[in-house]
């Protein structure tokens, strides 16, 4: 009997079991079929309203970004250093375990982020789902959208603008826990001395974003 793939021995159908090589021709892995089926599953899930969290990754000059959206809008952007698997696990816990890789819902988001990194877009026009940010942190993040492209503010300035001038540390926390970095521009908040300060995506990512915006 011919073996059509090198797959058969890994499962219970190997030569040591009663089934021997009976199922050698039935492939254990059929990547093209599964890819087709996964696309069909996410389309059906979308249609039936059970695709609670759709995600994809997007390669950018600041590294691979994980983009995740609910039916309400973009809910999470994460850098590779934040560990995408861990982030997906958190989304499953915080929103719903009905999480599927499904790029289609993120087509528009991806397009705008690509335009941004190409220097062709200075503000995002996306529907955002703010559910992962609450209270004062959310107020801070809402204010960040007023800091225009290519400009920066200090943590103290943002605290003052958010109505709590002494809450400089809380502003730092709000930026560090921003669920929507890049799109909600926490990278435009820097130290009073002008140095970049920390960033959830890492210092390099923050530099990439700031230099992109000053070069434009």
């Amino acid at each position: 009997m011919m073996t059509t793939s090198a797959s058969a021995s890994a499962s219970g159908s190997g030569s040591g079991s009663p089934a021997g090589h009976l199922f050698d021709t039935l492939p254990e892995q059929d990547a093209p079929a599964l890819e087709r089926l996964r696309e069909r599953l996410s389309a059906q899930a979308q249609r039936e309203g059970v695709l609670d969290v759709a995600y994809r990754t997007l390669a950018t000059p600041a590294g691979d970004l994980l983009l995740a959206a609910t039916e309400q809008g973009l809910v999470k952007v994460a850098f590779a250093v934040q560990d995408h698997d861990r982030v997906l696990q958190q989304l499953a816990g915080a929103i719903s375990p009905r999480v599927l890789s499904s790029p289609k819902r993120l087509d528009e988001t991806s397009r705008q982020i690509e335009e941004y990194f190409a220097g062709e877009r200075t503000r995002f026009e996306l529907t955002l789902d703010w559910r992962l940010s609450k209270g004062f942190r959310r107020e801070v993040l809402a204010h960040l959208q007023d800091i225009g492209y290519g400009r920066t503010e200090s943590y103290a300035q943002v605290a003052a603008a958010s109505g709590r001038p002494r809450a400089v540390r809380a502003v730092g926390t709000a930026c560090a826990t921003n669920p929507l970095p890049v799109v909600v521009p926490c990278h435009r908040v820097v130290r009073s001395d002008g140095s970049a300060g920390g960033y959830a995506g890492g210092a390099d990512a923050k530099r990439v974003l700031l230099s992109l915006e000053t070069a434009a």
Binding site: S13, L22, V50, P97, R98, L100
Partner: protein
């Protein structure tokens, strides 16, 4: 609870193999789709200690019954359908001879063989899925393998057709 994507990534290939062995090439992908859509809907209520493989095979078993019933209602005179030929042209490809041999088995034997040897489920789980006792499931799987050994792959003529 892990993201459903990991359930698809971890078990999608196994469920496809089971669907193919139980239903054949024409209906397997529909059954897979129905199985995972149904699983996705029910997933948030799945108990944390559930056996995910057994849960998926249970759903696939029900979907396979639905698909078989729907196929039986299709007005296709089976006798006039030409014997199916392998899609890849290899005479020993699974959707040719292996499926012909599997198709010839009684449904219970085909299910027991697929659920035990392809899904890796113990006979106790198989009994819970398809009814009957664990011993009956064990006998069905053993008889299924014995039958397959007599019908496959010896029954191949040089043209790649089977009878």
């Amino acid at each position: 609870m892990q993201p459903f994507e990991q359930i698809v990534a971890g078990h999608g290939a196994m469920v496809l193999r089971v669907c193919r062995a139980v239903l054949g090439p024409d209906d397997a992908e529909d059954a897979w789709s129905e199985t995972f859509l149904s699983a996705l809907k029910a997933y948030p209520e799945l108990p944390p200690d559930a056996n995910v493989e057994a849960w998926l095979v249970t759903i696939a078993h029900r979907k396979a019954i639905d698909v078989t019933r729907a196929a039986a209602r299709r007005p296709t005179p089976v006798e006039t359908v030409p014997e199916r030929v392998s899609r890849t042209g290899r005479p020993d490809d699974w959707d040719g001879d292996l499926w012909n041999a599997l198709r010839a088995l009684p449904a219970r034997q085909r299910q027991a063989v697929a659920y035990h040897y392809l899904a890796g489920l113990p006979y106790k789980e198989i009994a819970a899925i398809s009814g009957g006792s664990a011993d009956a499931a064990r006998r069905a799987a053993a008889d299924g393998i014995k039958n397959l050994r007599t019908t496959y792959p010896r029954v191949i003529d040089p043209m790649g057709a089977t009878r």
